[in-house]
């Protein structure tokens, strides 16, 4: 794993990944990183340092809401969940992303 660094994220996809991860229910920050890592089979890794700025930017925009709760190992943790605004944003970004990937694939196939 250490010798095979995860590919860099496409710009803007971090929000999409976080939104997608949270669409199944509230999670705390560490769980978000872990869920993404596992779901991508270690293919995507989010820098711990860039997670919180991103989460907070999304809080500012009102896509997420946060509240304090208790984690699975009984520690106090901050849980993030999607707001209605966030759900709409997820739909929007998913659509845009799909179109983008299809377009890139088209180009790559034809060139």
């Amino acid at each position: 794993m250490e010798n095979n660094p995860a590919p860099e994220l496409l710009p803007g996809t971090l929000y999409l990944l976080i939104l997608g991860t949270l669409s199944r229910g509230p999670l705390h920050g560490y769980a978000i990183v872990k869920r993404i890592k596992e779901a991508s089979r270690e293919g995507l890794r989010i820098e711990d340092g860039s997670l919180y700025p991103a989460l907070n930017r999304m809080l500012v925009k009102g896509w997420l809401a946060s509240e304090w709760g208790v984690s699975e190992n009984h520690r106090k943790a901050r849980f993030y969940r999607l707001t209605r605004e966030g759900r709409k944003q997820l739909e929007r970004e998913t659509g845009e992303f799909d179109r983008l990937v299809r377009a890139i694939q088209l180009v790559m196939r034809t060139v």
């Binding site: 920050g29 711990d48 009102g62």
Partner: protein
């Protein structure tokens, strides 16, 4: 929408910043702990797990910093930092801060209050329903109509209702065993229905109401102690019971405007009335006017008046704004002039204040140009420096606006509801005008930022090399700007000082002024009976009895009734005019004179000498031939140098009177009048049937006798209202305009002078500091202290002389219109005024030069040359 939500989120963050930081810290720790827990489960030792988790996370500080950045509003936090720095800078220089903030506060606060008062007094919208359709009717150049004329007009049905009102009627109110004079307003019973004046409690008057009263909020709270059961309460007014049917709201504004506030409205035949009409729906003012013209032609037939046809000068004036002001006529003139003067003076002071603030900021910015140069050379960006300077201006402006707002609120509270005891009392409801304040605040912000920007740009433009060079610091253009600001301030101070000096001289002149009669030993008692309760003959007997009883009081030397009180603008002599015929011949002389009906001992009481002939006597009674006494001016005008005593005078109404004497000239209506013409007639031959003023001359103190006079007159007719004051007090009323003018202008002028001297002092001191090196070189080259002094004084003079010159030129023009407020002995163009003011200004300028000169003399070349 999203933007506002975001902004709200960010502001929420700003408010709970410390909690946010704590929670973020906790969250990051949790993240690392969770990773460590996981590693530990995989078999790593606890200590290693924690270390590895920390390493994987990277810099927690950077993460926290970036997270915080997600929330921050960058410019707002920068601004806060700039303001905090500016506050420290201002605290280092409290004199400057105080001068600037004080100037701005006075500018905003005083100006806003003056405008609020003026607007309320002159332009406030009266309380009525649908005021646009309400008009005041006048015809034949007159807005007063008799009741038959009113009824005629009403019957013509030109309007959707026509109501009459007579303001300023004195009403006697018997409460317990005392009688008070109230300012009443007589209205026709449909007055409230036509005007739609709202009431706060009870109901308005209705058609068919008799003996109904609607009282004002002020009367209710002041005189009836806010009696909750006031509705239905009986008031004994002019000897008749009236029922209170309604109470007006606190913000009731009379249709007549000018803040007039009576105590109550009564349904009572007004005798003569001003008419208010409601235009019918769908009828324009022009259409109503045309129909009114037709009715006025009818009026000419029914109520013919050869001198004044009704069709001439017909008008329908609206009940607010400019038209009401014009309708106010004679009375509106001095009031408007007074406010205009006040507004101009405050505006001038504000101008000086603004000039001072910008001058202070300019001087400061130039003094700090080295600081800027150093900061720029250390890598500070020019934009950052400019922003810093703007922040200082902004802070000054905000503090000034805050203080100005506080001043306005305080002054408004102080002046609002103040009852000025004119016969129809004036009570202005002054509310801070927030639109105006917002406007003033915006202007202040703009001006302060603009004045702050100029030095900021200039101070930082020189660049590092230029600014560090000592002598290049004071850019010549900056010096010119500041110098002209100081000269301008001196000029404006000169104008204000000239005006203030005129008022002050007027005051001292008027106070020591010989009015032509004695005021020190006299009391005046106004005796007002209920109208219609006496025939003229009965009333004359009552006055005789009163005179006898008063004369019997211990200490009383002489007593006389009179119809008017001299030098009292509200109880004054009546002004008559017309063609008089000396000796009842064909020769006519057109004159304007003041007249008064006086008793036998009037001239003794007032100590006015009779120069020729005699005073009135017992035989000048009703039924005897009419007698008159002229004053010197009128006698000379009518008869030249010949002796008028014994000759006959024919009046315009063709009645004749024999001249029995000539009295020494005195003042009649205002202290400012010249030698006016005046005529006295015997009180006993007058037609007065309701009121008289009793003039009582006493050997002792006037205050002691006043109560006894009150009691004595009170026993004669318990329904009559009696008010007794020492003559001195009434006289003081005549000085009021002068006092107010002198006080306001004096304060403003002193303030302006103070500001100008601060400005001059500041500019000189700064310039000495700039020239420290130059002075050092001169002293080293052998300049004596005298040379240095000459140099500083020369600089001071170069500022003072243009200021004085411009000020003089302005003052000569500006004080000319003040003549209308002044006694004739004080001439606005008197050169002594200008010389005195110039001397004062020069003296103050000299004082402001002392400290900078002393500073220059202390310059030690060995120190100042090593200064670098």
């Amino acid at each position: 929408m999203a933007f506002w939500k975001e902004l709200a989120n960010r502001i929420g963050y700003l408010l709970g910043r410390s909690r946010f930081d704590r929670e973020l810290q906790e969250e990051v720790l949790f993240h690392i702990q969770a990773r460590a827990d996981e590693l530990e489960e995989a078999g790593v030792s606890a200590a290693d797990a924690l270390r590895q988790a920390r390493r994987e996370f990277g810099s927690t500080l950077r993460a926290r910093e970036e997270t915080r950045a997600a929330w921050q509003i960058r410019w707002l936090e920068d601004l806060a930092a700039d303001l905090a720095y500016a506050l420290r800078a201002l605290r280092r220089n409290p004199a400057l801060a105080l001068a600037a903030v004080g100037s701005l506060a006075l500018g905003i606060g005083a100006n806003a209050t003056v405008f609020s008062v003026a607007r309320e007094a002159l332009f406030s919208q009266p309380s009525c329903r649908d005021c646009q359709r309400l008009v005041q009717v006048s015809a034949g150049g007159n807005s007063w109509f008799s009741m038959p004329q009113y009824r005629f007009l009403e019957a013509a049905h030109v309007f959707d209702g026509l109501a009459g009102i007579n303001i300023g009627m004195v009403v006697n109110w018997r409460d317990g065993n005392r009688t008070y004079r109230l300012a009443g307003t007589h209205v026709t019973d449909n007055f409230f229905a036509v005007t739609g004046i709202p009431v706060a409690m009870g109901r308005p008057m209705q058609r068919g109401d008799t003996n109904a009263a609607v009282i004002t909020h002020g009367f209710w709270t002041r005189r009836l102690n806010s009696d909750a059961n006031v509705l239905g309460r009986q008031l004994a007014l002019d000897g008749q019971p009236y029922t209170v049917v309604g109470v007006l709201p606190r913000d009731h504004r009379m249709l007549a405007g000018f803040g007039f506030t009576p105590d109550l409205y009564l349904t009572k035949d007004p005798g003569e009335a001003m008419l208010y009409a409601r235009l019918p729906q769908g009828v324009t003012r022009a259409a109503a006017y045309a129909r009114l013209q037709t009715i006025c032609r009818e009026m000419d037939r029914v109520f013919p008046d050869a001198n004044r046809p009704w069709t001439r000068e017909v008008s329908l004036a609206s009940v607010g704004g400019m038209e009401r002001l014009q309708q106010g006529g004679q009375m509106a003139m001095p009031v408007t002039a007074f406010f205009a003067m006040l507004v101009i003076v405050t505006a001038i002071v504000v101008l000086i204040a603004c000039a001072n603030v910008s001058s202070l900021l300019l001087a400061r910015a130039f003094a700090r140009s080295r600081e800027f140069a150093i900061r720029m050379s250390l890598g500070g960006s020019r934009n950052r420096l400019i922003r810093q300077l703007l922040a200082e201006s902004l802070l000054l402006a905000l503090l000034g606006i805050g203080a100005g707002l506080a001043l306005d609120l305080w002054l408004s509270g102080l002046l609002s509801g103040l009852r000025i005891p004119t016969p129809l009392p004036i009570e202005l409801l002054i509310r801070p005008d927030f639109a105006l304040l917002a406007y003033a605040a915006a202007i202040t912000l703009l001006v302060t930022l603009a004045t702050g920007l100029a030095p900021a740009l200039k101070g930082t433009r020189a660049g590092i090399a230029g600014a560090l060079k000592q002598d290049a610091r004071l850019a010549p253009s900056g010096r010119t700007l500041r110098n002209s600001l100081v000269a301008g301030q001196l000029a404006v101070s000169m104008v204000l000082l000239c005006a203030a000096l005129l008022f002050w001289r007027n005051l001292s002149n008027a106070a020591s002024f010989n009015a032509g009669f004695d005021t020190a030993h006299t009391v005046v008692s106004t005796f007002q009976t209920v109208r219609g309760s006496y025939t003229p003959r009965d009333f004359a007997a009552l006055v005789d009895a009163a005179t006898e009883r008063l004369r019997a009081l211990p200490g009383v030397e002489a007593v006389s009734p009179a119809g008017a009180v001299p030098l009292n603008p509200f109880l004054a002599f009546s002004r008559n005019g017309g063609k008089l015929r000396p000796d009842a011949g064909s020769r006519t002389v057109r004159v304007q004179y003041d007249s008064n009906a006086v008793g036998i001992d009037y001239f003794r009481v007032m100590a006015i000498p009779i120069l020729r002939g005699r005073a009135f006597q017992e035989s000048d009674r009703l039924g005897a031939p009419d007698a008159v006494i002229l004053n010197e001016t009128l006698a000379r005008r009518l008869f030249g140098d010949a002796n008028p005593v014994g000759r006959v005078l024919r009046f315009p109404d063709n009645h004749d009177a024999r001249i029995v004497g000539v009295a020494r000239n005195s003042k009649y209506v205002t202290l400012g009048e010249g030698n006016s013409m005046a005529l006295y007639s015997p009180f006993a031959q007058g037609k007065s049937s309701a009121f008289a003023h009793f003039f009582v001359r006493t050997g002792g103190a006037p205050d002691a006798i006043a109560r006894k006079v009150d009691e004595t007159l009170g026993t004669l007719d318990s329904a009559a209202a009696v008010e007794t004051h020492p003559m001195r007090e009434i006289f003081a009323g005549a000085l009021l305009p002068s006092r107010v003018g002198a006080a306001i202008l004096g304060a403003m002028a002193l303030f302006a002078l103070l500001l100008a001297s601060v400005g001059l002092y500041g500019v000189l001191l700064y310039s000495i500091q700039q020239r420290m090196r130059e002075i050092g070189i001169r002293v080293a080259l052998g300049a004596t202290p005298g040379d240095v002094l000459t140099m500083v004084a020369g600089q001071s003079l170069r500022l003072l002389l243009p200021g004085l010159g411009i000020g003089l030129a302005l003052a000569v023009v500006a004080v000319r219109p003040l003549a209308m407020f002044l006694v004739p002995e004080v001439r606005p163009a008197d050169p002594i005024n200008f010389v005195a003011v110039a001397a004062v200004l020069a003296l103050v300028a000299g004082l402001a030069t002392v400290a900078p000169a002393a500073r220059a003399l202390r310059v030690d070349p060995s120190v100042s040359l090593r200064h670098e």
